[in-house]
């Protein structure tokens, strides 16, 4: 995680106060990984909720299919977003590592 800290300024669409952005110099970090962990946890929560909803339906705990649809749709969309951002970050990391110094 420490290796990709220098690119933290490049992920512009991660909402974050400007003050924090200026504070975190190269090598200092912790900020990007924290943001990332928050996002991953958020997506994980949605996945868990989707899982629980589906389990409740299949075990007959609830008869209502709509909460399942809702939870699955949310989990699916946020997971796709996470994947998209991850691909972008990995790509940026690769490009940085391929740079001739």
């Amino acid at each position: 995680m420490a290796a990709i800290n220098p690119i933290s300024g490049g992920v512009g669409h991660v909402p974050r106060p400007t003050a924090d952005l200026q504070k975190s110099g190269p090598g200092e970090g912790g900020n990007f990984s924290k943001t990332l962990m928050d996002v991953v946890n958020g997506v994980d929560d949605k996945q868990q909720a989707s899982h629980t909803a589906m389990q409740d339906l299949l075990t007959g705990k609830t008869q209502d299919v709509l909460p399942v649809v809702m939870a699955v749709a949310k989990a699916d969309m946020s997971f796709k977003l996470l994947i998209g951002v991850r691909n972008k970050v990995i790509e940026a990391y690769k490009q940085t590592m391929n740079m001739q110094v």
């Binding site: 669409h13 991660v14 909402p15 943001t35 928050d38 996002v39 958020g42 709509l66 909460p67 649809v69 809702m70 749709a73 949310k74 699916d76 969309m77 946020s78 796709k80 977003l81 996470l82 998209g84 951002v85 691909n87 972008k88």
Partner: protein
């Protein structure tokens, strides 16, 4: 679009609330049709057709809320000549529910179309999210 909460997730809630309301409406219509010939209930009167009342918070995008299920007290009961019926009066007329099958059928088509429309909204939101994420590539 923030990472923790996809913008369109609010839209998912809205579409789901619409789906829920319309499926409730379908339940009520099914109940009306099932009781179209119910000449007696606990109150001693025939069945009264039920209607769904929905509401919303006007200034918020909060979707639709199922407010209440009310009885239709305005339209009159039908009087059908059935002299042998146990609920018949002196002249042989039986009071029948104020359910009109053609009306229920039209309401059913409306409700199921509205359900489909809400489902289409949900599907389109998901596609919009996909289209937005395509921009990341």
């Amino acid at each position: 679009m923030s990472l923790g909460r996809v913008n369109s997730i609010g839209s998912v809630d809205i579409a789901i609330s619409g789906l829920r309301a319309e499926s409730r409406r379908m339940d009520i219509i099914a109940n009306n049709i099932a009781n179209a010939q119910t000449s007696r209930t606990e109150t001693g009167q025939p069945y009264r057709r039920k209607e769904l009342v929905v509401s919303t918070d006007d200034d918020l995008l909060a979707g639709v809320r199922i407010e209440d299920v009310v009885s239709d007290k305005d339209s009159p009961f039908r009087h059908v000549l059935m002299p042998g019926h146990p609920d018949a009066d002196d002249q042989g007329y039986v009071e029948m529910p104020n359910v009109s099958l053609p009306r229920e059928m039209i309401d059913m088509v409306t409700a199921s179309r509205a359900y489909q429309a809400n489902a289409a909204i949900l599907k389109r939101y998901q596609r919009n999210v996909d289209v937005t994420l395509e921009l990341l590539r």
